[in-house]
């Protein structure tokens, strides 16, 4: 595979403002590289992430969606990530059930101190999505051109 044809996945990362977004900032200030395919959207809490947002990202051509929040027990709002965890577990289970490849969407808990974990997580997620290849099962064909 030549460099030019290399699959450049589109990846949306929803990061909670208090932990993961700060973790991403720390990854940046520590100069810990991860692929530019990852684009971060700041949300107040992982519990703000609506399944509609995730499906919308896939609809519009995202190849992978990752939601990052505070570790369970550490939520800035005390309980938000617990709700997020249930919601995302069910949503991912449904995606699996209708035949979407396992691993296209992921949840990771990254604290503000875990710059290394943030970069590692993004590296591993991007590599997973590259293995899975382009998202063809959950996109809207009209957005492909």
């Amino acid at each position: 595979m030549s460099v030019n044809n290399e699959f450049k996945p589109k990846i949306v990362a929803f990061c909670c403002n208090w932990c993961s977004y700060a973790g991403a900032d720390l990854a940046g200030s520590s100069r810990l590289a991860y692929p530019a395919d990852v684009k971060i959207i700041r949300v107040p809490c992982s519990c703000r992430v609506n399944p509609m947002f995730i499906l919308r990202a896939f609809e519009k051509g995202a190849d992978g969606v990752i939601i990052c929040g505070c570790h369970p027990g550490d939520c800035h709002y005390s309980t938000g990530n617990y709700y997020a965890r249930r919601r995302m577990t069910l949503l991912f289970s449904m995606l699996d059930y209708i035949g979407v490849e396992k691993g296209r969407a992921r949840v990771e808990w990254v604290s503000a101190a875990e710059g290394v974990k943030f970069a590692d997580t993004m590296n591993s997620f991007v590599s997973k999505i590259k293995d899975l290849g382009e998202n063809v099962r959950l996109g809207d064909i009209r957005c492909k051109n």
Partner: protein, 662 residues
């Protein structure tokens, strides 16, 4: 349509080295809504901020995107700059092209491409931004403390000393709580009453503190800064203003067969009583269940003997309504019931007692006047067995899953005191672990073992069997020597697990404060906000939040007080404008959002709506902006999309998603 200005920061070479800022400016110009774009060395500098101000004027900007470092760094800076230029500060969005881009990507093409996309997402969001305004709410400069134990007393004293009015509501006839029942305190062995009583007196005498004893919180409404609380003052049948506290009524009262709550049922009290000698206020109450006058209409002896004429059988419960700015929960704890632990023979033998009962036995004012004796026959025990973790650290549902935290230390205290006073008494302690993480704690425990020769056995007791000769056969195991132990004891003391006061669930519901599965009140953040409830304006003091000993309780009480003082010191509360709000035409009134709100910020109102010509009354969610912290949990719980979050609205986030996936 917005008129958006985009400002791309070089951050010296921090950004410019791996992002072609000129290219970003050029590309972003053709985005919908963008009317101006420029780059500058340091946007956050005074000169940079000035450029924003100039552009706002020149290009009549309605929205601003700054492509720079993390919003966690300078969002406030740029919001203030926008505000100075006449824009609403919430019309600013930051594209984080430093931490999330230039610093992690080496290739300038890659970096530039990503910076453009991040900028585009920010522009897409600003296109949907609306001006937001923080709300204001007033603060009633008065605090309520629920619970008059050491936690509540200390909190109240600290608040009062800071100059604020504070009321204590205590449901029993006297303040003092469990600490007043203790004999000595670890690890210094000073007398509990000696250190507590002065504090009780201070509280009663403090001009800023008002005591509502024999009273309960009946109803709470309102929110942080502005709570309205109904307090039920239960009828004492004794006029507190007239009563001199002489105690004659108690002496003369013919009904003296009621188990004393203060002595844990180990002794009796009269129908008209003060719980203990140092009770504050020193005003008795009549227990109508025990009082002959109330039961039969005859007697009235207390009234006859009261020279002050303070006895009033016609007194009624009274409801007092007060306003508060902050509420502190200090409802404390109790020991668990031992009905699930038949193996320890607690209900079969009077000589099996709880540690708290032992406190009363050891106390000079207690049922045995401080003499260590068997409650069955009054004989002096020679062999005492302590059993640890009775109902604590329990893996099934008979007991509690948590460690009660204080038992190891008070057992060491009991063992030491007994060995000190009665050197001929053997003391054996069965334990799972001995936990002594506190200042001078481990030293204390080692003294018990080394200096006082207390026999610690690592292992659990399977059964306590009362013997025909009055002794108690203790069957235990010694895990270290791996052997079964059979011991004949004269007394067995159970380190019974503690649990939150049973009223806490009712109180938490009134306060919309959350509680965990063990009925402990939940703190706003386990590490960073341990004395605050997630519900704004509600603070936690003492064991209602989790097991703790006296020094810990007192320090937490002080911490809660300073949080209250910090709140009461403000004249007005500015509320975060990034809060949730419900579209009343879409709301189903289903309560799903309220179920996930950690702050109790959502209530329901029956509102008259006009839905495109259909006029009807509907149950609609209303968000209290003073309470909402803007997490957004409700927005996802809401199926119809009625609930949305200002500043992070559904459409704004979707616009960012669309811009990124383009």
């Amino acid at each position: 349509m917005q008129r958006i200005g985009v400002f791309v920061c070089h951050c010296g070479s921090n950004i410019a080295a791996t992002v072609d800022v000129k290219k970003v400016v050029e590309v972003i110009r053709s985005e919908p809504g963008v009317v101006h774009a420029e780059d500058y060395q340091y946007m956050c500098s005074e000169a940079g901020q000035e450029r924003i101000a100039i552009a706002v004027k020149e290009h009549k900007l309605t929205g601003i995107v700054v492509c720079s470092c993390s919003p966690r760094m300078h969002e406030t800076t740029f919001r203030k700059a926008a505000e100075r230029a006449g824009l609403n500060p919430y019309m600013v969005e930051i594209a984080n092209i430093r931490e999330h881009c230039s610093w992690i990507h080496k290739d300038i093409n890659e970096g530039t491409e990503k910076a453009v996309i991040l900028a585009r997402a920010a522009v897409a969001k600003v296109n949907l931004n609306t001006p937001l305004y923080p709300g204001e709410s007033r603060v009633t400069k008065r605090a309520l403390v629920i619970g008059g134990g050491i936690a509540g007393i200390q909190t109240a004293l600290d608040i009062a000393d800071a100059g604020y009015e504070v009321d204590i509501v205590e449901k029993t006839p006297s303040i003092g709580g469990i600490m007043s029942q203790l004999d000595k305190t670890f690890p210094t062995l000073d007398c509990s009453a000696c250190i507590l009583t002065p504090k009780m007196v201070d509280a009663a005498a403090h001009e800023k503190i008002k005591l509502y004893t024999y009273s309960e919180v009946e109803k709470v409404s309102g929110f942080v800064g502005d709570f309205t609380v109904d307090i039920r003052k239960k009828a004492r049948y004794v006029d507190a203003d007239k009563c001199t506290g002489c105690g004659l009524c108690q002496e003369k009262c013919p009904s003296k067969k009621t188990p004393s709550e203060f002595n844990r049922g180990l002794g009796n009290r009269s129908a008209i009583y003060t719980p203990f000698a140092q009770a504050i206020p020193n005003v008795p109450v009549i227990d109508t269940d025990a009082c002959i006058k109330f039961k039969t209409g005859k007697c009235g002896l207390c009234q006859k003997v009261c020279a002050a004429g303070a006895i009033d059988y016609t007194q009624k419960d009274e409801i007092v309504t007060e306003k508060y700015g902050a509420i502190v929960v200090a409802t404390g704890f109790d020991t668990i019931k031992l009905d699930n632990y038949d193996e320890y023979a607690y209900n079969q033998s009077k000589d099996v007692i709880t540690s708290l009962e032992l406190e009363r036995v050891m106390n000079a004012a207690g049922p045995t006047h401080g003499h260590l004796e068997r409650l069955s026959d009054g004989k002096a025990p020679k062999e005492i067995v302590f059993i640890q973790c009775v109902g604590s650290r329990c893996s099934d549902d008979r007991g509690k899953p948590y460690c009660s935290k204080i038992c190891c230390m008070y057992t060491a205290k009991h063992a030491m005191l007994i060995r000190d006073k009665y050197p001929d008494v053997n003391v054996t302690v069965f334990y799972i672990d001995v936990r002594t993480p506190g200042k001078n704690f481990d030293e204390f425990y080692r003294r018990a073992v080394e200096q006082y020769g207390v026999n610690y056995v690592k292992g659990q007791v399977g059964k306590v069997i009362p013997q025909p000769n009055g002794k108690l056969l203790v069957q235990g195991s010694d895990l270290l020597d791996n052997k079964q132990i059979l011991k004949e004891a004269d007394m067995v003391v159970l380190a019974t697990a503690i649990e939150p006061n049973k009223d806490v669930r009712k109180i938490a519901t009134m306060l919309t404060a959350s509680i965990d599965t063990n009925n402990f009140l939940t703190e706003a953040h386990a590490k960073l906000r341990p004395v605050e409830s997630p519900t704004a304006g509600i603070f936690l003091s003492g064991v209602c939040q989790g097991p703790k000993d006296i020094p810990e309780t007192v320090s937490q009480a002080g911490a809660a007080a300073i949080k209250v003082v910090g709140l009461l010191a403000k004249d007005k509360l500015m509320t975060n404008p990034c809060t949730a709000h419900a579209d009343e035409l879409l709301c189903n009134g289903c309560s799903t959002c309220a179920n996930v709100c950690p702050y109790g910020a959502i209530s329901y109102e029956d509102k008259q709506v006009n839905d495109h010509g259909i006029r009807e009354t509907r149950r609609i969610a209303v968000v209290n902006n003073a309470l909402c912290q803007g997490c957004g949990a409700c927005t996802v719980a809401c199926p119809s999309g009625a609930m949305d979050l200002q500043g992070f609205s559904n459409r704004q986030i979707l616009a960012e998603v669309d811009a990124i996936c383009r």
